[in-house]
């Protein structure tokens, strides 16, 4: 696998060891192949992959600004159409670029129906600027702008439901994924690229630096997010949920305990009230998407 993925997203980039976003880059290009043009937003991925004069991208790649990747992609798609070219176009942005500052551009591009795939690598905060809260930051996560303190338990707001918003734009294919399941990402990227019109994939990308865990735990934490129901892997086609990853659910604290961003919920004293609120979020997810595998009782 290493040999293949290094072909298009080169190994010599400058991401942190254990970076979820770097895995996203590799997996996307692995699935998309060389006939792909990538548009990146400003952010970690852009910075760790393209310090002039070096680039890790072996496909045509362009970065313009933080908030305009889907508008730039609109123009590329239009130009390719006019020129009769068949390359696929992928826009990639972090959660800040996607959920917050780039929202108007994404909404416009999806409403207009350009044929491209938007991939959000969701590490749940502004990591490139030093771990500030975004609209994708989960409830109670401590960030540098939503710190836990004597009278705060971290981010006081819930995560924005971006996939639903884009499905409501009429996107023919919307999916969520996590780097813990690489084959699933490849499959979803291929499906999005094969679906005409604007498609959206939101990929859970654990950030060891921002979330506070050891680099070798990235995959394990990605998996735990799904197994606790705090992240749901699903596909929506024409606005309807068509496929959901089912799990035998674990208590949310098994996920929370692995990361420093939730440490204040356990130390110096355990905060059962807040942990229960987060468990309720997972329970609602489970009910909404039907993720629970019912074990047969003897």
């Amino acid at each position: 696998m290493a040999g293949q993925t290094c072909d298009l997203f080169d190994c010599g980039h400058r991401a942190c060891g254990g970076c979820g976003a770097a895995l996203v880059s590799r997996l996307i290009l692995d699935a998309a192949g060389e006939d792909t043009i990538v548009v990146s937003s400003t952010g970690c991925m852009e910075v760790f992959s393209t310090p002039y004069p070096e680039t890790a991208w072996k496909v045509p790649w362009i970065h313009s600004l933080f908030e305009n990747n889907s508008a730039v992609a609109s123009g590329i798609v239009a130009a390719l159409k006019k020129q009769g070219r068949k390359e696929k176009v992928i826009a990639i942005g972090g959660d800040g670029a996607t959920f917050d500052i780039g929202m108007i551009c994404i909404s416009g591009a999806f409403e207009r129906g350009h044929d491209f795939t938007y991939i959000c690598y969701d590490n749940e905060a502004y990591m490139n600027t030093g771990i500030q809260r975004s609209g994708a930051t989960p409830y109670d996560a401590s960030t540098t702008t939503s710190p836990a303190g004597k009278c705060a338990t971290g981010n006081p707001l819930p995560k924005k439901d971006m996939p639903k918003i884009l499905a409501a734009h009429g996107a023919p294919y919307v999916a969520t994924a996590t780097i813990a399941y690489p084959a699933d990402i490849r499959k979803k990227v291929k499906k999005a690229l094969d679906t005409p019109g604007p498609c959206y994939i939101q990929i859970h990308a654990p950030c060891c630096t921002g979330w506070g865990f050891e680099a070798e735990k990235t995959m394990e934490i990605g998996k735990l997010a799904v197994e606790t129901g705090l992240w749901v892997n699903y596909e929506m086609e024409q606005g309807e949920v068509t496929k959901v990853k089912k799990v035998v659910r674990k208590p949310v604290e098994e996920y929370l305990k692995t990361q420093k961003r939730f440490r204040h919920l356990f130390r110096p004293v355990r905060n059962d009230t807040e942990i229960a609120k987060i468990q309720a979020i997972a329970d609602r997810n489970a009910e909404k998407y039907g993720i629970d595998i019912k074990l047969k009782k003897d």
């Binding site: 002039y52 123009g75 239009a78 390359e87 416009g108």
Partner: protein, 384 residues
């Protein structure tokens, strides 16, 4: 062929003849008639082009950026608040050396909100790396579009260009315009040949970040291209002159300036009024002339110095103000004349669409002769 045309429609016709492959634009007064006319052409199949109806000016120029990087000739048009919303993208387009041509239908910037004309909008982007050409009338506004594409796309330049003309005063006014034919346009402006583009057969990275080891050199190269563009403008103007007989070879235009005591310096449609006023003043025995600035970026300092070296005083009409300093044109003129003894007096005039008549020009000249300047002309002190 000479036709009576609205300025916006003449510009739209010229844009069509330049064969843009992608247009992305967002409606804003007084730019709308251009983009509406282009939309009609697309709807009637007389213009074969991808027309993106974006959700903001910010996205309009971002889409143009993407399309240009993908190797297409692109076009947009905006004004005022729309251009202000594009600010970030403007710097980006120039830094990425994408030869986008955009019409700026000059309008004031809020607050207070004003849809009327001055040149504060494009002047505010003077440092962004876009070529800036200003038109006096609809013929010039039309012709400068062909020239702008030719200069911008030259592989020794690769800079974006504003073609600026005054909102309403030109854009919504009917004047005789001599349109060239499509066949003539094709001969003057061949198909776009991108220097490099997003291409899977030859993948390159656009828009990488630069550390302090490289950033300064990138900016230097843009500045060098800006300076080189003066000669390319002259060459493009010469070709245009030879093919169509209209002369835009010089970055400045002199009007009865040879023996003038007072030189007026101005840009855009106000130059027409100034010329009429000069004729009247000349008839009355006053030696007054005009130096019209056609290319504000790059700024033609050498031509300005040469044209103004013999005058007794210079009166600059600035349809903009760098608040806390002076008008942008006056600052450039002072810089060009540095070391000479010629006094340069600045008149902030016509902001927000305040009408300017021949008598106002006469009064400016009287003021200049009396050494009174560096003021807002025509202030209604009763409403202050």
């Amino acid at each position: 062929m000479m036709e009576i045309m609205e300025g916006s429609h003449a510009v739209a016709e010229a844009v069509k003849q330049c064969r843009p492959e992608v247009i992305a634009a967002y409606p804003i007064t007084p730019q709308t008639h251009i983009v509406e006319a282009l939309a009609d052409m697309v709807a009637d199949c007389s213009l074969d082009c991808e027309y993106i109806t974006v959700e903001s000016e910010f996205s309009a120029l971002s889409a143009c950026l993407g399309a240009s990087a993908a190797g297409s000739r692109v076009y947009s048009a905006t004004t005022s608040q729309g251009l202000a919303l594009m600010f970030e993208v403007c710097y980006n387009v120039a830094g990425m050396r994408l030869p986008i041509v955009m019409s700026i239908v000059n309008r004031s910037l809020g607050a207070p909100l004003s849809i009327w004309n001055d040149q504060q909008d494009s002047i505010s982007l003077r440092d962004s790396g876009w070529l800036q050409y200003y038109a006096e009338d609809n013929q010039e506004a039309t012709d400068l579009h062909y020239i702008a594409y030719k200069v911008a796309e030259d592989h020794n330049i690769l800079l974006p260009a504003f073609v600026c003309f005054d909102g309403f005063i030109l854009s919504h006014t009917y004047e005789p315009v001599d349109m060239i034919t499509q066949e003539q346009a094709d001969r003057y402006l061949p198909a776009f040949k991108p220097y490099q583009k997003l291409d899977c057969r030859d993948p390159i990275s656009f828009g990488m970040y630069a550390t302090p080891d490289y950033y300064l050199e990138f900016r230097y190269e843009i500045d060098q291209a800006m300076k080189r563009s003066a000669a390319v403008f002259e060459k493009a103007g010469k070709e245009f002159f030879e093919m169509f007989g209209r002369d835009y070879r010089s970055p400045v235009e002199e009007y009865r300036l040879d023996d003038a005591d007072t030189a007026i310096v101005a840009m855009g449609s106000i130059c027409g009024t100034v010329k009429d006023a000069i004729d009247e003043m000349r008839d009355a025995g006053k030696k007054v002339g005009l130096l019209k600035i056609r290319t504000f970026r790059p700024f033609p300092s050498a031509e300005v110095k040469s044209a103004l070296s013999g005058v007794s005083r210079v009166a600059v009409l600035d349809k903009n103000i760098s608040l806390g300093a002076k008008g942008a044109v006056a600052l450039e003129i002072k810089d060009a004349l540095y070391g000479s003894q010629v006094p340069v007096l600045d008149y902030i005039i016509a902001l927000g669409g305040r009408d300017v008549r021949r008598k106002d020009i006469r009064e400016v000249v009287s003021n200049a002769e009396a050494g009174i300047g560096d003021l807002f002309y025509g202030l209604r002190t009763e409403v202050l």
